[in-house]
């Protein structure tokens, strides 16, 4: 990895490949199979996709990064770009940057290479991909995948394994056809003089893992975490990019004795889960920005009536309908501050696709323990990413709501002012404790009250229970030492961790703080963690610096604060983080005030 992305590594620890083509070409399938084959062979890696606006038949790019070490994020340039065709490639150009000197392979029939690519490419190779596919009785994506696998050095056995898994259900004929295509692709590559490029693209051998690796998406892991933690009722309304989380959950819930109900809208879904959780069943919904906006009134009720619910919000580009298929970290504001009145609640963020498992389960634990709503801020990047992972242990969460025993008539106080602020909750069916949960301000006995004293006591109780809880060390992943720290939240952790790894190898030690618990903000722990830091780089995938301003609002930050941010389809990358650190070391930029925030240059 270097400052200007270029392709000059010797033996590769990490290689990035993009496959592009218009609808029906199957480039997504090819990318997923490449990942699966690599996983089988023992590599790590991730695969993501970017698609055009067409519902079907639109153009798409499949982006794959493979490595000998665990990766959670893309590199900022691709070493190999394979184009089945060039249709609307300019739509993706900003997301798919070819490394300087990188290799481009394209179908002979695809037409002209887009000019910017031409400039950067080390070599452009026109191969008869579609012709070969036709001859092999296969499809062009398989031929392309065959080429790629051969260049990268993916064992044929792993490729065959991936093809069998993929197509077995559809019959042996399809399996054979795809294998033929893969072979044709390999043969095409071998006929060319690509020695230099092959040397450059070939991956180091991986260490063989003990157990077969998993391929997981964030949405699957969030669903798994929720069901594992005991969620048995889900009500939701479909929305991209949360729908596949719901689709994963329905059958599992039905097998676990729970259920998923498709509601008529998000107002219904949030209120349905408030009802079910009032009934004692851990409950969840999943949505994305526009749906979250519709749920805020319901979440306020959950705050006031102290009813635990979990909302997994898979962020996408905003504002409004925005860019539904692309990632962004800009629902932080609404998640933190989107309710009217004083409404303390929980906000968490998974750090990677795999971490969706732990973080979602933890959210269920916290919501139930604190009788408060929890918003989990996932995002499209990790939610729909396919990531190779060691098999994940089911997290050891302790999900336990403090419930009330049966009691004498009129003795039960639903909102008793306990020391920790959590009051035992009577579940319907418990004799003697009949009460009415209320979103009107109330006294300890749950009867509505507009008295100033009751209001003050309840506001304080609801704040106290969150403030005083012991969240343990999971509030963030904290690594490294040094006077420079990079702080981030959620899915930006991936590139930050990788930048730290690269910098460490360059002999530069930095501190990284990747926050999982965003609200209540663990101010003390955070300030302790940042003690001694001179320069703080705040990295986030937003336009206005929502995270930075949130930190400023509540914490004393180090003297110099650098904001590394940009919104939209391009996430923050590891090289950007690394560059920001190097620039910060370069110095000459220290400043007294943390007002005139510097914005790190962003490519």
């Amino acid at each position: 990895m270097s400052d200007t992305p270029q392709d000059n590594a010797a033996a590769r620890e990490s290689v990035s490949v993009a496959i592009t083509g218009s609808g029906g070409a199957g480039v997504i399938t090819a990318g997923e199979m490449l990942l699966a084959a690599a996983a089988h062979a023992g590599w790590h890696g991730i695969q993501t996709r970017s698609v055009g606006p067409q519902i079907r038949g639109g153009e798409a790019v499949s982006m794959v990064r493979l490595a000998t070490f665990p990766v959670e994020a893309h590199d900022d340039a691709f070493h190999l770009l394979v184009a089945v065709d060039w249709r609307n490639f300019d739509r993706f150009a900003a997301e798919v940057l070819l490394a300087q000197g990188g290799l481009v392979i394209m179908d002979k029939a695809a037409g002209d290479v887009p000019p910017p690519l031409k400039e950067r490419a080390g070599k452009i190779l026109s191969l008869p991909l579609s012709k070969a596919a036709k001859e092999a009785g296969s499809r062009v994506n398989m031929v392309a995948l065959g080429c790629i696998a051969a260049l990268l050095g993916i064992p044929e056995s792993s490729l065959e394994h991936a093809a069998r898994r993929r197509f077995a259900a559809k019959g042996e004929k399809l399996v054979e056809a795809s294998l033929a295509g893969l072979r044709a692709g390999r043969d095409l590559t071998m006929q060319e003089d690509l020695a230099d490029h092959i040397a450059n693209l070939r991956l180091d051998r991986p260490e063989k893992p003990d157990k077969p690796r998993w391929i997981v998406s964030g949405n699957q892991m969030a669903g798994l975490g929720a069901v594992h933690a005991g969620v048995r009722f889900v009500a939701a309304y479909p929305i991209t990019p949360a729908s596949d989380l719901l689709e994963w959950m329905t059958p599992v819930l039905s097998a676990e004795g729970g259920m998923l109900v498709q509601a008529e809208d998000e107002l219904a879904s949030i209120n349905m889960i408030i009802g079910s959780s009032f009934g004692g069943v851990p409950s969840m919904t999943a949505t994305s920005g526009p749906g979250l906006a519709l749920m805020m009134e319901g979440l306020g009720l959950a705050v006031s009536a102290e009813i635990p619910v979990v909302v997994v919000n898979v962020q996408r580009g905003g504002p409004s309908t925005g860019i539904p298929t692309k990632s962004e970290q800009t629902d932080l504001n609404i998640a933190l501050c989107g309710m009217h009145g004083e409404a303390p609640h929980l906000v968490l963020a998974p750090l990677s696709a795999a971490d969706c498992l732990f973080t979602t389960a933890w959210a269920v634990e916290l919501a139930e323990a604190l009788q408060a709503p929890a918003i989990v801020l996932s995002d499209q990047k990790i939610a729909q990413m396919k990531a190779i992972s060691d098999p994940l242990p089911l997290p050891a969460v302790k999900v336990a709501r403090k419930v009330s025993e049966a009691c004498a008539p009129h003795a039960y106080k639903r909102y008793a002012l306990t020391e920790d602020g959590v009051s035992p909750m009577a579940l319907p069916g418990t004799p003697g404790c009949m009460y009415t949960a209320d979103g009107l301000e109330h006294g300890e006995n749950a009867v509505p009250s507009s008295r100033a004293e009751d209001h003050a006591a309840m506001l304080e109780k609801r704040a106290r229970k969150l403030r005083n809880h012991d969240y343990g060390p999971a509030w963030a992943e904290v690594n490294g030492e040094g006077e420079i720290a990079v702080i981030c939240w959620g899915s930006t952790a991936g590139p930050v961790h990788e930048a730290a790894r690269v910098l460490a190898r360059e002999g530069i030690s930095i501190r990284t703080v990747s926050m999982r618990l965003l609200s209540p903000l663990p101010i003390e722990a955070l300030e302790e963690t940042l003690a001694g830091v001179k320069t703080l780089i705040v990295a986030e995938n937003s336009h206005s610096g929502q995270f930075l301003h949130y930190l400023r609002a509540w914490c004393d930050l180090p003297q110099e604060v650098i904001s590394l941010k940009h919104a939209g389809p391009r996430p923050i990358t590891a090289p950007e983080v690394r560059r920001a650190v190097i620039d910060a070391i370069g110095g000459g930029r220290m400043q007294e005030s943390n007002i005139a925030l510097k914005e790190a240059p962003v490519s």
């Binding site: 996983a39 077969p212 069901v227 259920m259 109900v261 008529e264 219904a268 209120n271 003697g432 009867v447």
Partner: protein
């Protein structure tokens, strides 16, 4: 508590209603407690779920579990509760604004979803709690502070909507006849699926002329019809202030999507292996 001996009073919570003296909602409260006594329900096995409004204040006055939620959202909250805790007797309650205006979408989808619970709409043809704005059932020419000359909008016909949308039991009752209302509530609760009872319940403060309803009610002008179409025709042709049960359907209640051919958590882990 001796089960055989439950009385209406056992279902009063003792919390003093905020209602105006003479408000029709007192009669609904009284009928509801009578119905629970007749059904001999255990108070802890009942949940009353509501939205916001004068009518929607009813849960706290009943000795049962209650959820006084958001304006318009009683039905989804009630459905979530009933689906998660099918052994409970779940009542949803609210005013004409709560259920038919802001809650209208949940109303039609609750009818079609047909969860086994009972909805009581206390219709006073006005927004009582917010001091007298027109509701969907207010007459087009009725003067209010908001529209001194009337809204000029056709009232909504909740019973016909319920019928078309698929409610499994549809009735109208009058709060001034609490024994009859109690009987209808008993039948509605006993009837499987989603039951809708529209209760004419005067707002004596903002619509004092509704005190006259007691002289205008066409008691039991509605009787169970043989088909939804007949029920619709009956509602259309009956006098405006008719009461009675007009529809008892036989659609099976919704208890969730049931078996969706899934695997349990432990068994699904294999699917992640590359």
């Amino acid at each position: 508590m001796n089960e055989a001996m439950r009385k209406p009073n056992d279902f009063k919570s003792g919390v003093k209603p905020i209602w105006c003296p003479g408000c029709g909602d007192y009669g609904v409260l009284s009928a509801l407690t009578k119905a629970f006594a007749r059904l001999n329900c255990a108070p802890e096995k009942i949940a009353v779920v509501s939205g916001i409004g004068c009518a929607a204040r009813i849960p706290a006055y009943v000795n049962a579990y209650g959820l006084h939620g958001l304006h318009g959202r009683a039905l989804p909250a009630a459905a979530g509760l009933k689906l998660a805790r099918p052994e409970l007797t779940v009542i949803a309650a609210g005013g004409d604004g709560d259920i038919y205006s802001i809650g209208g979408n949940h109303f039609i989808h609750a009818c079609r979803r047909n969860v086994d619970m009972t909805l009581i709409v206390m219709d006073n043809r006005i927004y009582g709690m917010t001091k007298g704005q027109p509701s969907p059932t207010t007459e087009p020419d009725y003067p209010t502070h908001l529209y001194p000359a009337g809204t000029h909008v056709q009232p909504l016909d909740g019973m016909s909507l319920a019928l078309v949308a698929g409610a499994n039991f549809v009735a109208r009752a009058f709060t001034g006849d609490p024994n009859d209302l109690a009987e209808i509530i008993v039948e509605a609760i006993r009837h499987p699926g989603f039951s809708v009872i529209e209760v004419l319940s005067p707002c004596v403060t903002f619509r004092p002329e509704e005190r006259e309803w007691k002289h205008q009610i066409a008691r039991h002008a509605l009787t169970p019809a043989g088909s939804v179409a007949e029920a619709l025709a009956a509602v259309a042709s009956a006098p405006e202030l008719s009461t009675g049960i007009v529809w008892k359907g036989n659609r099976p209640p919704y208890t969730g999507p049931g078996d969706q051919a899934g695997k349990r958590v432990q068994d699904v882990l294999d699917s992640f292996v590359a």
